[in-house]
Each structure stands twice: as C-alpha cells, then as structure tokens.
C-alpha cells in the first residue's frame, strides 16, 4: 500500500498497462517531455519511448481519428484530451466512429480506445477549462463512460478501461489531482470491483445521495455534517456513468425512500434527470418524496470568481437533503 496523489495513481496505472501490453500506446498533446499539463504522464515517454508515448499535433479530431485506425490495426490507444472544453472538435470521431464501429461492423472491429479527460471546475481556470461534458457521451450508445473519485479507483479503473474491449471515456476530476490516498498497487484487476459497478461509499438509512467524480468527496463531507444533525445519508459513488449501476441505487432507495443526486454539470438533460426518472420508474412505491437534483446551473461555465456559486458545495447538498426529507429548506413555502 502506498500513499499517492490522484495524478500519480493514474500515472502508475498507465505505467502498468504500458508494461503489461505492448499494444498499449498513449497519444495526446504535450504528454511526452512535459508529462502532460497536469503531469499525469510524467516520465512515461522517457521510459517507454516516443513510439509508445506519442506527442501528437494539436488536433483533437486527429488524435481520436488516428486512434480509430490504430485500433483497427490491433492497438489499444489511450488518448489524452488536455481539457474537457477541448473535446468538442473530437466529438464527431468519438460519437460517429469510436462509439459505432463495433455495432456498424457487427462485432468484427473493436475499438478498445480509452479517452482520458480532465473534467470539472474548481481550479480557477479561464473558460473552456472547467466543463462537465459527460452527459453528451452517456447519451451515445457504444461508449462506456466512467468518472473516478479517489486515487485507488483512479489506479484500478484506468487499467480496467485500457483492458476493456469497448471504448471508455475516463473522466478525471482535475481539482482532485493533488489529493492523496492509499493505493494498493498489487490489486488484482480480475477481482477488483468491475468498471461498470457503483460503490456505496458511506452507509446510511435516511436518504440516498448519488455523486460521481469530484463531488464524491463533497458528498461524503455532507454526509458527515448531516450526521451531526442526526440524519443518516447513504452516499453512492456511481463510478460508471454509462451504464449506470441502477441495482445499487435502487437497493439504497428502497431502504431510504429518498434520493438526492448531485453533479457539477448543468441540470437540464443532465445525468441527474436520467437517474431521477429511472429510479422513479423502478422504485415509485418506495419513494417518500420526489428525487432532488443539486447541480451546476444551466449556464456556460462561469468565470472563476463566480465558480463557487455554480458548483454544488456541502451546504447546497445539505439543503437538498433537507428538501428530500421535508425539513425546512431554502425552497420551503414555494409551490412546485
């Protein structure tokens, strides 16, 4: 067991994958000598060579499109998109090509491509550097989408993503890159929690709180604060955003009867809407109140002096918990 930052944990996972499989190649802007703008690929080009850790031209569609060709040739490319807001030029290759190739060829061509995306806000960046584009990709069949929330998962899930024969979008919460945590580097991938499973990260009985990526830590902090008020919050780390592990959420909601979902992305058409609808369909008779969403606003990601208002924080989440429980809250007295 070692204590690693989030970024080092991903680095260690990438290193392990490069060591274990000669078909794994890394591609992205500035990932070589610089080691990536967040240093996630630090030292890998030095140790594995320029042919395995490829500094690519500044062309996101090119990075993903050439990865499609490499996958055709039997490689397992791991692409880095430098920032969430830069993924849009690659959107066509991801949703039209990467996602559909397996279906289009009726299973004859596989796309074992991993696309790493630092996502989310909270680091005081200018625009295009703090987005949460995950819902665009969870809406596209053929892609697996995961968001990691702690160094151990970061280490394990990057290797699982690379080993997956399906394409995986791997969202990294950039404001957690420097958080440290225990990482068991000897973990057996075949017995580790599978890539598409959710985890109950703190048990509770009054309300289910669903989070992923950067907000898992906030949700856990909120659960601890709620406990001081005698409220027992069960926190679920989704881990997989497509597919979502509904049985785990369902089991929790059947127990608690209440559901709060939180994410940084804007509310409309977001994952919170999907989870609220699906859980309502599956657990209608167990629900004591309507599901509550605590999310970013439906605005472009704001400039950094305002981002703390946009991002759900501990108090907004607790206010949502109060709404789910019918306790006095900021919307008390408001109809509808």
């Amino acid at each position: 067991m070692s204590k690693l930052t989030f970024a080092r944990a991903i680095n260690a996972g990438l290193r392990k994958s490069l060591e274990n499989d000669p078909k794994v190649v890394l591609m992205g802007e500035d990932i070589g000598a610089l080691g990536g703008v967040f240093r996630v690929t630090d030292g890998l080009q030095k140790d594995f060579g320029k042919h395995r850790v490829i500094d690519s031209p500044l062309a996101e569609s090119g990075i993903i499109g050439t990865a499609v060709g490499l996958a055709y040739r039997g490689y397992r490319p791991v692409c880095e998109i430098q920032f969430d807001g830069f993924i849009y030029p690659a959107f066509d290759q991801i949703v039209s090509q990467v996602a559909k190739m397996h279906y289009r060829t009726q299973g004859r061509v596989r796309m074992p491509i991993t696309i790493r995306v630092p996502f989310g806000g909270g680091i005081g960046s200018p625009e295009h550097h703090s987005e949460s584009p995950e819902a665009y990709f969870t809406h596209t069949s053929g892609l697996r989408v995961v968001a990691v929330s702690n160094p151990q998962d970061a280490y394990t899930m990057i290797q699982q993503a690379i080993a997956s024969d399906d394409p995986v979008l791997y969202f990294e919460p950039k404001r957690r890159y420097h958080d440290k945590g225990d990482v068991d580097e000897t973990i057996d991938l075949s017995t580790a929690l599978p890539l598409d499973k959710a985890a109950v990260v703190s048990a509770g009985s009054d309300v289910t709180l669903v989070a992923y990526g950067p907000l898992v830590k906030t949700a856990k902090d909120a659960a601890m604060a709620a406990a001081d008020d005698g409220i027992s919050v069960e926190v679920i780390d989704l881990r997989s955003l497509a597919p979502i592990d509904y049985p785990v959420v369902e089991a929790s909601v059947r127990k608690t009867g209440r559901l709060v979902i939180t994410h940084e992305a804007g509310q409309s058409g977001g994952l919170g809407a999907e989870i609220a609808a699906s859980i309502t369909e599956r657990c209608f008779h167990y629900l004591e109140s309507a599901p509550v969403r605590i999310t970013g606003f439906d605005v472009p990601y704001p400039y950094s002096k305002l981002e703390m208002h946009h991002l759900p924080d501990l108090d907004r989440i607790l206010d949502g918990v109060d709404r789910a429980l019918g306790r006095p809250n900021s919307l008390s007295g408001l109809e509808g």
């Binding site: 090119g62 499109g65 050439t66 499609v68 060709g69 397996h102 009726q106 598409d196 497509a242």
Partner: protein, 389 residues
Amino acid sequence: MLTDQAGKGVHHDTPGPGHSAQNPLRTGGNLLQLVSPEGERISHPEFDVWVKDVGDEQLCSLYEDMTVIRRIDAEATALQRQGELALWPPLLGQEASQIGSSRSLRDDEFVFPSYRESGVAYVRGAHLSEIARVWRGNASYGWDPQRINLATPQIIIGSQSLHATGYAMGVQLDGANTAVLAYFGDGATSEGDVNEAMVFAASYQAPVVFFCQNNHWAISEPVRVQSHVQLADRPTGFGIPSMRVDGNDVLAVMAATRVALDRARKGGGPTFIEAVTYRMGPHTTADDPTRYRDPIELEDWAAKDPILRLRKLLEAKGLLTEDVEARVTAKADAVAAELRSNCIEMPDPQPLDVFNHVYSTPNSWIERQKDHYSRYLNSFNQPVEKGAL
C-alpha cells in the same frame, strides 16, 4: 526521380499555379496521362516503367473489371428504382479511378473507403450480397474488414482519412512494409479531418496514400466552391508530395498509385493523388443533378468516358476480339444476375438484432431494454381472453 511532365491531350479544368520545384512527385498543373481520350497510348519517360508489366491480358482484365462494376452500378440503380435497395451511390464515370487504384494494392494492404467505392470493394473480393446489404438496409456494414483488408464504408465525409493515417502509424509501429490507402472525394478536402490527417501523416511520415477522386461535385457543390487551387496543390503545404492524374485513364491511375504505394512501403511517407474524374450520375439515387448541372458539362465528360477510352486502346491494339467481348459481357451479366438474386433473396434481420453488438461485453441498460422489448413482442403470441380489454 520523377519530375513534372505534361501529357498530351491534357484537360485543364481549373488554372493551376504550376509545379512545385521542391516536390519531385508533383506532376505540375497538368494531368498525368498514359492513354489519351482517343485511346492512344502516350509514352511517359518516368511513369511508363510503372506499368510496363501491364500486358495485353492485364489490359483486357482491367477492361473486364471496369465493365463489370459499371454493370453492378446499373443493376444496383435499377434495384433501387424497383424498391429493392433503399439507396445507391452510383460510381458511373469513376471506374478507371477505382479499378486502377485498387488493382495496384497488395492483398495485405489495408484500405479505408468512403461510401462510393463499390468498385474497390468488388476488386478486394467483397461478396455481392455484402455490397448490396448496406444499401438495402439489412446491415450497416458490408464485408468483414479483416477478411479483405477493406474498412467498412464510411459515410461521414473524410473521417476515414484519419483512420487510414492511424492505421498507417500502427503499420510503422509494427515495422511492417505495407502501405495504407484512403479514398475520399473533392468535397472531403474541405473537411477538418482530411487536413488533420495530412498533418498527422506528414508529422509521422506515415505510410498512407490519400487517393482523392475529384469527381467535380460534392452533391450540388462544384469543386470550385471547395478550393481556389488545384486539389493536388494543397498537400504541398503539409509537406506531402502529390500527383495529379487523369482519373479516367486506368493506366495513369495505376502508375501513379503504384508510385505512391511503393514510396509508402519503402518508408518514404505519405503521398496525395488527385484523380481528376467525373461523377456522371447523381450523388445518390435520391439526388437530381439536372437541378444544378449543365448538360453540356456532362456531354464533355461523356466523351472522356474511362471505359470507352480503354476500349479504343484495346481496339487499336487488336485485342477487342469477339471472344473477349463475349467473355466480358457474359461475366457482367452473370455478376448483375447474382447481385439481383442476392439482393432479393436476402433474409431480413430479426427484431432483437437491433440490440446486438453495441458493445463487445454486456451492458445492463441494453440488456434490460432488450428483455422488455422481447416481452413486448412475445405479448402478441399470448392468447387474449374473451371479453378482456
């Protein structure tokens, strides 16, 4: 090495800035031609050597392939008109470009086509049913890409140029001496992906050949809306040598493609070929070119018909015997009949097939939807009690 060389009977469709001195492959603003529209063999000091093995028998066989794919095209168009195919993208007029280029490839070389390369698919060994089923709507892919080293047809314009480049980067990583060929049209050269593909290919010196069939029309947009320079001039700015070849001259296409493939195999990097040809039919069977195209332009190009040109050459050489004619016609008839029967007899897919192959591993969302839809379908088989609502 190869230098720019003007052929005879050159067709200047757009004025070009001339050849680039830094680029040994550049054929200048002129088309490389080895056979004139009148069917005369034009000798060329640099390119002749690349087709010197193409003897009488091979010329007849090129003629056969071109005739057969024209027949496939006509039959498929008829099948569409009869409601048997949902759509068909005709390649009428582009036979020399497709046959000349695809017959230059080795079997082990991988090809990334667009949706119009049915002639290439035929040459690579795709079954006729595999060519038809995409357009019938029975599948979204035709052939097994690994079986014939031909990627599945690509409808998003220019997307495959990046796939070809990535594949070529993989070839490089493998240390293999094979080339990769990407087909796209004139319209695709406006797409970001084609330009990004050229950046990547040049940066890594990837063994890829970009084969652009300039058929002059991107649906209704003429090539002059796509480019102010000749398309073959564009790659020079990326550091990629190019050739401008008469795409209706199967020998010239073959020579140019062989030069480019050879270069790629030997580690010389990417090459761009602009095959100047003409789409004599509509973009697809859903299109009406009379709304945007001057009929005189079509007449001009009909006179440069690639099959007619090869016929004239064969006639001049005394090769077009009754036997050859009969054999080629019989082959075209047989292929057309087979295409028709394959198409009409093709079984429909099963309803639950809609859920298959989205992922290589199970996905809980899709499995649930498949289960629910299966129950729904099965509900039609349940007996309904009398008086039940």
